[in-house]
């Protein structure tokens, strides 16, 4: 089931990146897209979650959920400043993509989700794939 859900996530994130690529080619303002995307996400998620009550939003959920949105927003802010400051987009995108190592390492340390050696090779190869494909796109 998890692999199926990952495949669904891949399909939708691929569509998202293709749309972002097309928007860049048409000179559409990324910060405006970002705001519209978050508002759309908020509207859809609220529609899907209906009916909601105060019990649907326990305090820890509000804290963690908001923190996810804020850290994602901070990531976007830092990405924007770095790109506008002259750091090549491919380097910024590469760093952002390779951040997957952060949750993997934290989960292995905190929750003992320790990959077996074969899976570690898979994680490392996915990192190599990201670097090489983004190097190609420079």
């Amino acid at each position: 089931m998890g692999i199926l859900l990952c495949s669904i996530a891949i399909a939708f994130f691929t569509a998202m990146y293709l749309l972002l690529g097309q928007s860049q080619k048409r000179g559409v303002e990324p910060i405006g897209i970002n705001l519209a995307a978050f508002i759309t996400g908020a509207a859809i998620s609220l529609l899907v979650a209906l009916p909601v009550s105060s019990a649907s939003f326990p305090l820890p959920l509000i804290l963690v959920g908001s923190l996810i949105g804020i850290t994602a927003g901070l990531g976007l802010l830092a990405t924007t400043i770095a790109v506008r400051g002259g750091v090549p987009v491919s380097i910024v995108n590469g760093a952002v993509s390779l951040c997957l190592i952060v949750p993997i390492l934290l989960s292995s340390v905190l929750y003992h989700e320790m990959p077996e050696p074969r899976k570690w090779v898979g994680v490392l190869l996915s990192g190599v794939a990201i670097v090489l494909i983004q190097k190609e796109q420079r």
Partner: protein, 137 residues
């Protein structure tokens, strides 16, 4: 200083991903739907600040692309958040983060006829081997 912002982007995005795992770890996995509401509302508030700070633009073109991106982002995040409930982070994140980069390279070649050079070919091969290693067994 410019590279410090790259480091902040790396850590902030990595933290956002880890927090999705943390949500399940603290027993809030049943609240995935409302977690996405808080995530997107907080993100939207941050995005407003960003728009004001950088004097961005939100014309109908941005809105149209943004709606498409928001829809795809929501569906992808909903699937990823649900996957984290019963699948280890070391499988979910390489697939959900690396998979789309691999898929975009392939789709761009097939649909838009973009050329894939040697680095790209080796990268795609590594990506496929990674997917097999992570998902089989």
């Amino acid at each position: 200083m410019r590279m410090a912002w790259v480091a902040i982007a790396f850590l902030a995005n990595g933290s956002a991903q880890f927090l999705q795992k943390y949500l399940h770890a603290i027993g809030l996995g049943a609240y995935q739907k409302t977690a996405l509401v808080t995530l997107y509302v907080a993100g939207a508030l941050f995005a407003v600040l960003l728009l004001v700070w950088f004097r961005g633009r939100l014309s109908p073109r941005e809105a149209l692309f943004g709606m498409g991106v928001g829809l795809a982002s929501y569906a992808g995040n909903a699937a990823m958040l649900r996957a984290l409930g019963d699948t280890p982070a070391y499988i979910v994140f390489p697939m959900a983060v690396g998979g789309p980069i691999l898929a975009v390279a392939i789709v761009s070649r097939l649909l838009f006829g973009e050329r894939i050079g040697p680095y790209g070919k080796v990268g795609i091969l590594c990506g496929f081997i990674a997917v097999i290693l992570l998902t089989v067994g």
